[in-house]
């Protein structure tokens, strides 16, 4: 405990460092979770109820960083955005982005169906459900593409891979919003 606290006067510089791992996109989640628990047990402020004010402050700062890191890194989308951001590639805001060209027609149809449902036309549920299924399949495809890019980047952290990743993340976020809207309409 002493070494752990006194060896570290400053906080880890990034979320990966908190876990003591290099920047990695294709993370082993169960392993990350195991580390999260181990670190929590070590550093949680509750463990320092009788410590000095400085130690309590460190425990608080470290644990909040640990929790923030775990929240971001356990979610592949958030994790990838975090890495992009650290490389100066701000992910675009999907709301401002036009829909990907190949989805234009789909989105148009979905919006019509959503509008019909809002007007009280229950038969619009059918097309919405079909659209939802297509979006879910698309999302799944993007997820495996994303995983492939993760692995490629981990093997060779090239800027070009990051740019491809950014484009993919934007598309995925757009589809995610469609899925959410369709699910909301159906629920």
């Amino acid at each position: 405990m002493r070494d752990l606290l006194y060896g570290m006067s400053s906080l880890p510089s990034d979320y990966f460092a908190v876990f003591g791992i290099p920047v990695t996109l294709a993370l082993d989640l169960p392993e990350l979770q195991r580390r999260f628990y181990v670190l929590s047990k070590q550093y949680h402020p509750d463990r320092f109820g009788r410590a000095t004010a400085a130690e309590q402050q460190y425990a608080l700062d470290f644990t909040s960083l640990l929790n923030d890191a775990w929240r971001v890194l356990r979610d592949p989308q958030a994790r990838a955005e975090y890495v992009l951001q650290n490389n100066g590639l701000e992910a675009g805001d999907s709301r401002g982005n036009p829909p990907p060209a190949e989805l234009l027609e789909e989105v148009f149809e979905l919006n019509m169906a959503l509008e019909e449902l809002r007007q009280g036309e229950a038969e619009a549920r059918g097309p919405i459900r079909e659209a939802l299924d297509r979006f879910l399949a698309l999302r799944e495809a993007l997820d495996s593409e994303r995983e492939a890019l993760f692995l490629r980047y981990d093997a060779n952290p090239a800027a070009e891979t990051l740019r491809q990743l950014r484009a993919l993340l934007n598309r995925r976020r757009y589809i995610e919003n469609l899925v959410r809207d369709a699910q909301q309409a159906l629920s």
């Binding site: 047990k41 402020p45 509750d46 109820g49």
Partner: protein, 623 residues
């Protein structure tokens, strides 16, 4: 942990062997109690009346000291205008938040209650944290009497769904009572801790806590001593009180039509009617039918209330708790079937319909092995043990119940920390200036899930002051928002251009200022310390009287005259010294002198025993 303690010591351990004990307190809407960790098992502490539960009622008789607990509950009937109950529902609130509620309360609210409610009782004004402090002080005294040592540190529980202001108000109550609040723990989480400690199980559990004033539900994952809250939901204004109010309205309508009398302005009658209703409600938990009986000025009101009718009446209230449970499941990303166990907490879970509804929703038989009145305090005591380092194999990872955000252009809220984030949690945000030479930036922080600031709960306004005057957009102030392990927000700011700490002035939207709390403490904290000492002195003197009387009596015995003169002189000296210390207020010294006398007179006591035995042998035959 122990190695750590030896290395660095704790600030107040000094040469005393054991660090001060930390107690766990459930400061409830209806009832409060205190528990401590005895070796490894948590135990509730009984008050002088032999009861663990202290009713959360404080009476402020004009011109006299406030009365707390069961005695105050009596005053609820005799002196309703000066007797405060359910003050927890007013914690961290302004008059506008609880307008509907205040109309039902028998005590008037003083002007200037926008950000802190001021109750006009007993010819003075008291705030909800002060009311809480009186209850806490009673619990503190009970614990001190029970443990025989001063108690200065506590873990206090709060409803999981309490917002920042409500938590802060609870902490203030502790400070006012002379207690250092080491941690605020969420009530359902505390309950889980009490259960988990018992069973050392792994799995996913739901805690359904339905008390007098608040409702909470939390879903936790338990594994190897780690209690990880996945999601929490609730309503800080939903409890048995609402059921009482519902029945009260029905009864008032009945009475209005039967007697042609409106009782709603008659606080004394209202309190008695409320009492009758609560008694009937409790009875319905074990019987199929009850009768509400009430008389006033020779007239009698009797109403039969079968359980089916009661169930129908309260269904909307229970449905609200179920909706919370469903949201909580959704936030945890779980189906009801994923819940392995359900734990019931709070007095209102004794209602059969509640049990039935919970069983049906979670598809699990709810646990009720531990007393639902005590389980929260027991868990608080476990958490106290964790903080004190005596419980090393358990740890709580709790979450913040509400999203935290800041107001941006157009009154829209930008979320910084989402609800159900594990705490402590933080977020940083950069701020800049909009006009040349601007010297300060105002940040409005809110809690809640809605999009617009006006629909969220205002937490505070933070003023970044004395900025260097620079061109518009050139300032770079980084503000860090941190929700600590108590669920309370802390804010710090840094000027990124200079790297210097930036001053932040905090203007909380609700609650007392530090100075106000300080002023309240000085009064009652000093007194509390005095009280403790005074009690100790008084009790020690009673004991000294007893010993002195015994020794004086012994001096009439023949054994006294048989003692060697030196021993008699030693006893007389010890008596004198005890008498000298007797009128001082150093109870430790009195105790020492008592022990010295006890020691000096040991020979005398033995001699007397022997002569008594001889006397007995002389007078009786032994078979």
């Amino acid at each position: 942990m122990s190695v750590f303690q030896i290395d660095f010591g704790s600030p107040d351990s000094g040469q005393e062997s054991a660090p001060p004990r930390v107690v766990g307190i459930d400061l409830g809407t209806t009832n409060s109690l205190v528990a401590f960790l005895d070796l490894t098992a948590p135990k509730v502490i009984l008050g002088p009346d032999g009861a663990a539960l202290v009713p959360s009622v404080v009476s402020f008789p004009a011109g006299a000291e406030p009365v707390v607990g069961a005695a105050a509950q009596q005053a609820l009937l005799a002196d309703p205008a000066n007797t405060v109950y359910s003050a927890k529902r007013l914690m961290g609130r302004g008059a506008a938040d609880v307008a509907g509620e205040l109309a039902l309360l028998p005590f008037p609210v003083a002007p200037g209650s926008e950000s802190v409610i001021r109750l006009a009782v007993g010819g003075r004004e008291v705030t909800p944290p002060e009311v809480g402090a009186y209850i806490l002080r009673q619990l503190k005294q009970n614990a001190e009497a029970f443990l025989g040592e001063p108690v200065t540190q506590a873990v206090i529980t709060v409803p999981a769904y309490f917002d920042d202001a409500q938590r802060q108000a609870t902490k203030d109550a502790g400070r006012i009572a002379g207690l250092e609040v080491l941690r605020l723990v969420n009530e359902p989480t505390a309950a889980a801790l009490a259960y988990g400690l018992d069973k050392r199980q792994n799995g996913t559990i739901a805690v359904y806590d339905f008390g007098g004033g608040t409702f909470d539900v939390s879903i936790l994952k338990l594994q190897e001593g780690l209690f990880e809250v996945l999601a929490t939901h609730g309503d800080t204004h939903l409890g048995g009180d609402d059921i009482d109010n519902l029945l009260l309205r029905v009864a008032l309508e009945d009475i209005a039509s039967e007697w042609g009398a409106d009782l709603s302005g008659n606080h004394e009658a209202l309190q008695r009617l409320r009492r009758a209703i609560i008694d009937a409600k409790h009875e319905l938990s074990t019987r199929p039918v009850t009768t509400i009986t009430f008389d006033d000025g020779g007239r009698e009101y009797r109403r039969q209330l079968p359980r089916e009718v009661f169930d129908q009446l309260i269904t909307p209230i229970i449905e609200r708790t179920l909706a919370s449970c469903r949201s909580c499941l959704g936030d945890a990303g779980l189906q009801p079937a994923a819940i392995d166990e359900v734990v019931l907490v709070g007095g209102s879970t004794r209602i059969p319909l509640v049990r039935q509804a919970v069983r049906a929703l979670f598809e699990a038989e709810p646990h009720t092995e531990l007393n639902p009145d005590e389980v929260v305090a027991l868990g608080a005591a476990v958490q106290a043990g964790i903080l004190a380092g005596t419980v090393e194999d358990h740890l709580l990872l709790d979450v913040t119940p509400l999203s935290l955000g800041i107001e941006t252009m157009g009154g829209v809220v930008s979320k910084l920390i989402l609800r159900n984030s594990t705490i402590p949690a933080s977020a940083t945000e950069q701020f800049t200036t909009a006009v040349d030479g601007q010297r300060n930036v105002l940040i409005h922080v809110l809690q809640g899930e809605r999009e617009l600031a006006k629909d969220c709960r205002s937490l505070a306004r933070f003023d970044l002051k004395d900025l260097d005057p620079v061109m518009a957009g050139m300032a770079r102030i980084e503000v860090r928002f941190l929700i600590d392990a108590n669920g309370i927000l802390r804010v710090s700011a840094k000027d990124l251009r200079t790297g210097k700490e930036q001053a932040v002035e905090i203007k909380p939207s609700y609650g007392l200022t530090d100075e106000q709390v300080e002023a309240m403490i000085l009064e009652s904290f000093d007194k509390a310390e005095e009280d403790f000492k005074e009690r100790q002195v008084r009790e020690t003197r009673v004991e000294a009287d007893r010993i002195l009387a015994a020794v004086e009596k012994a001096k009439q015995d023949e054994a006294w005259f048989a003692l060697p003169p030196a021993e008699r002189a030693a006893i007389d000296l010890a008596i004198n010294e005890l008498l000298l210390s007797y009128h001082g207020d150093d109870y430790v010294l009195i105790q020492q002198k008592m022990e010295a006398l006890d020691h000096a007179s040991r020979g005398l006591a033995e001699a007397m025993m022997n002569s008594a035995v001889r006397g007995a042998l002389k007078g009786t035959k032994i078979e």
